[in-house]
């Protein structure tokens, strides 16, 4: 299913994105599952209150019972009655670098996950499908590691100072020039934390009197940055261009809420790949809309830099567009480069402004030199400037792995969300019990996966999320697929009826309600 016809030639390649609708029977059974869990939760709370069952949670002391309670215990209901039961699928302690394979410490619980004890055994060589290791740079030996070790002995662990005071090293300038060259923009600036890059720089770019149009499923860092800025925030439906256009039109026609003055700036916040859905932003249409309505675009390429595009330059290269169309290109070094931190790239005036006015530049410590060296080495590897074709091979391997894995899972009959080319693969589980069961069964078969449920996702859309890596060989993927097939048969997860509902053809209704802040 491609939408080239719909969009008059904006897309140079087919855009295959689909989110199969939840089968009605599955939705009903999911609600029944949550209902049963809620009723049992009330029963257990009742037994705990009347001392029939021992209360394992922290409670107030007897002397404090007359004071106003600090926390409402109903807010902890979900945590103690649902999350605690399947808690062993999260926060698993590992004891090796999280590459394509990882070693995990085995732990058992004798009181239904309230406490864990380590058996002392280390489960070796678990296939790691949960780490954001898209190009496989999470290694403990190799050229990146050697270079970083040399820089560590030369520069030390870091200057504990901000960029504007004493923390600016020549390594940082080298990194920023390299990042600007990699992205194809005029200038770039690097920050110590990816989250802080978003949350501290959006307030520097927009303020009161500006409008932010943000996607429904934007990451918490973008949401925090938007809220901290003081601008008006309006949310458009996920990847839905009609919704975005309607909001843009309304904003320009009606202006600011009460005064009807024109907006100072309109900033569209989108992400390259949305990590929970596996969908890729419709960048050609967003850029066309941005140009038509003269607004600005902030693109967060946290997951797509290094992972998309024929040479790993991100979602802009994937669609064959020019980086000059995107006003602010933001990304992180955490996922594809095996390091930490974030960057913002754009025109020189913009980056010079951010060097002065960004909160991170003034108050936050700069990147640590070994980390900078890791980024520099891995980026040079991807660009091919280190003299080998390792980088290009990795990017191609990731693309092949993605296509192969998604095709095989779809053929098996699972419901997979997202775009055909995104290395993030959400597999729908739906029912609350299957979340815990899937996580545990996969661990028994030596595969580590990430499972997510309500309230992190909508109530009927709990999922398991696979993150593919260039470090996964075809044998590893085949093993993983075989085990997923077995677990899918065991847990009856093969819901797909191969009736795909592409996002554009979903009926666009305006009935969503937002929390209005007066």
């Amino acid at each position: 299913i491609n939408h080239i016809v719909h969009n008059g030639g904006l897309y140079k390649r087919p855009f295959n994105e689909a989110f199969e609708e939840t089968p009605m029977l599955v939705a009903v059974l999911t609600y029944v599952g949550y209902g049963v869990l809620t009723l049992f939760g009330y029963l257990r709370d009742f037994m705990r209150q009347w001392k029939i069952e021992k209360c394992q949670n922290a409670t107030e002391r007897e002397e404090q019972k007359d004071f106003v309670p600090l926390y409402q215990d109903f807010e902890n209901f979900y945590n103690r009655n649902l999350y605690m039961r399947i808690r062993d699928s999260w926060n698993r302690p590992i004891c090796s670098v999280p590459g394509a394979k990882v070693d995990m410490m085995e732990r058992v619980s004798h009181d239904y996950n309230w406490t864990f004890t380590y058996t002392g055994r280390v489960i070796k060589d678990i296939i790691n499908m949960g780490s954001y290791n898209y190009l496989g740079f999470a290694q403990k030996a190799g050229t990146c590691q050697k270079a970083a070790a040399k820089v560590l002995s030369h520069y030390g662990a870091g200057v504990c100072s901000t960029r504007q005071e004493m923390g600016n090293l020549d390594k940082h300038e080298e990194l920023e020039k390299l990042v600007a060259r990699f992205l194809g923009v005029e200038s770039a600036m690097a920050y110590g934390m990816g989250f802080a890059t978003n949350s501290m720089n959006i307030p520097a770019l927009v303020g009161k009197g500006c409008l932010i149009l943000s996607d429904e499923l934007n990451h918490a860092s973008l949401v925090l940055g938007a809220r901290l800025s003081g601008a008006t925030i309006r949310i458009f439906k996920h990847n839905n261009m009609q919704s975005l256009e309607k909001l843009l039109k309304d904003a320009i026609v009606h202006g600011q809420p009460r005064t009807r003055r024109p907006w100072k700036k309109i900033l569209i916040l989108v992400e390259g790949i949305y990590s929970m859905e596996g969908s890729i932003v419709r960048l050609p249409e967003v850029i066309a809309l941005k140009k038509k309505y003269k607004s600005y675009l902030y693109l967060d390429e946290a997951h797509s830099i290094g992972a998309l595009g024929p040479s790993g330059r991100g979602v802009v290269e994937y669609f064959g567009l020019s980086p000059e169309d995107v006003d602010v290109m933001m990304g992180t070094f955490t996922k594809s480069f095996g390091a930490a931190g974030g960057y913002i790239g754009g025109k020189k005036e913009l980056i010079d402004y951010l060097r002065t006015y960004s909160h991170s530049a003034v108050y936050a410590t700069s990147l640590s030199p070994p980390v900078v060296e890791q980024i520099i080495t891995s980026m040079k590897c991807i660009m091919g400037e280190d003299g080998t074709t390792v980088g290009k091979a990795r990017v191609q391997q990731l693309a092949e792995n993605t296509r192969y894995f998604r095709r095989r899972l779809k053929e098996m009959g699972f419901i997979i969300y997202g775009n055909e080319d995104s290395p993030v693969v959400p597999l729908m589980l739906y029912m609350p019990a299957k979340i815990g069961a899937f996580g545990r069964e996969m661990l028994k078969r030596n595969i580590g996966v990430v499972v997510v449920g309500f309230p992190a996702t909508p109530i009927i859309e709990s999922r398991a999320r696979f993150c593919l890596s260039a470090a996964h060989t075809k044998e590893m993927l085949d093993t993983a697929l075989k085990e997923i097939n077995e677990v899918g048969d065991l847990l009856q997860l093969k819901y797909s009826r191969h009736r795909l509902v592409p996002l554009l053809d979903r009926p666009f209704d305006e009935t969503t309600y937002e929390e209005t802040e007066d």
């Binding site: 939705a27 009903v28 109903f74 949401v223 990590s275 996702t457 309600y513 937002e514 929390e515």
Partner: protein
């Protein structure tokens, strides 16, 4: 903000009642309750209908109008902590489709119960009072109102 969460929805409780399949599940749940009550040999048909109506309204009152707050922590700094689920629906916007559905369904159940009890006076009083306990809190004028301070904190 919603750390570790994949959307910018401040309070997911507001969307639960309008998500896919919820209305069908609710209708099936009421039907199941009624079938269970009809299967008990001691209850005649009018008693079973009145019991369905009363138990359904009791459940609806407890879960929609008595329990306050959310069973998980929300990043809205406690705005919804003192609100019942009915008041949280759709962030307080009145006359949305899920509100209309949940207002109409006890009324339909009341009609059916009145019909099957042949308008007997005792059953009528029981059914009407239980319908009123579930309809009055749904009025938009009673949004956020706590009579005599009951259930305020």
């Amino acid at each position: 903000m919603n750390v570790g969460v994949a959307h910018s929805e401040v309070n997911p409780n507001t969307r639960v009642m309008s998500s896919r399949g919820m209305w069908l599940t609710y209708a099936l749940g009421v039907g199941m309750l009624h079938i269970v009550l009809l299967s008990i040999p001691f209850f005649s048909v009018p008693v079973a209908w009145t019991l369905t109506n009363v138990i359904h309204n009791l459940g609806m009152y407890v879960f929609l109008h008595a329990v306050k707050g959310t069973p998980f922590e929300t990043p809205d700094q406690g705005k919804a902590r003192l609100l019942t689920h009915w008041e949280q629906l759709d962030y307080g916007v009145q006359f949305t489709s899920s509100r209309k559905f949940f207002t109409i369904s006890p009324i339909i159940l009341y009609f059916l119960a009145s019909f099957y009890t042949k308008y007997d006076p005792t059953h009528f009083i029981l059914n009407t009072t239980s319908l009123l306990t579930v309809l009055i809190p749904k009025l938009p004028q009673l949004h956020g109102v706590r009579i005599f301070g009951i259930n305020k904190y």
